[in-house]
Amino acid sequence: MSDRSKLLEVSVWRGMGDEGAYETFQVPARDNQTVLDVVSWIQQSADPSLTYRYACRVGMCGSCAMMVNGVPRWTCRTHVKRVLRDGALQIGPLRNLPVIKDLAADMDPFFDKWIRAGGVHRPSRSRDDPIQQVPPDDPGRVEANKGIECINCSVCYAACDTVAGNPDYLGPAALQRAWTLYNDAKVEDRQAVLDSVSGAGGCHNCHSQGSCTRFCPNELDPLSAIAGLKRASARSFFRRGE
């Protein structure tokens, strides 16, 4: 039996753009409850004007990420019990992104950088060519596979201190995507991938401290992907200098 009388002390960010403040709500505690359940309870039972974002509720869509007690998390798969601090929760919009309203961060910069890092498909064959066979155990494919489960949740981007200090920095997810493309047998122009991550906001700005890898809810490893890009671009630097 759950203890129906128990209440959680939940402070939630309210505001638009740069302005706002935390507002506290009392939310009934349940035995099994995710942070997203708590936010939904507030919106449904306490204040219908609370703005937040979610879709799948099962860790697939990447739309529900927020700061929970100062840490970026996917809220639909984060159990309250695991993150509660002295019976209290603080929930805010994702770090390193502009706020639209309340808990909904503006994801545009994140996706714009995804495109700037070359994360769009550039086909190397036309529909008239035969389909390219890619053996699953090909080393490039194995390396590329490590990054393809990214759900674009921006948790790594919110965790990255280099993004915080350098707003032009492409960030871990976009760079990991570039590394996936670099290793993809179907991508012909590898140098173009390296060029798009070698400019002023590129992979060379990463400090390699690994907050991205530590906080990625899908246990991906952008840190190692970025290290791969640095090695590949250094090699191409010498090749070009010849």
Partner: protein, 110 residues
Amino acid sequence: MLNIGLYMAQRLSAMVMAPLVLGHIAVMIYAVQGGLSTAEILDRTQGSVWWFLFYGSFVLAVAAHAAIGLRVILHEMTGLRGRWLEVVTCGIGMLLLIMGGRAVLAVTFA
């Protein structure tokens, strides 16, 4: 605020500095152990092309390495960017180059 060029300059200058630092420490230990006087040290360094190249390349590497490192810190901590960031990066590099260059010339120029 690092592109591939600055990144490589910083890594390569570090690779140049590493053996030179070890060489410098070895020389210091030798000079102290052997009880060399200032005059005896200057006697060996002045007019020596080798010591000029040794400490000259050290100064070049330090100027590049430190200027790029400070550039990153300044950009991320103060938000300095654009033209001023370039000016400050070059300024730090030049300052280190001039100060180091003067010191090298003072001990190697006969």
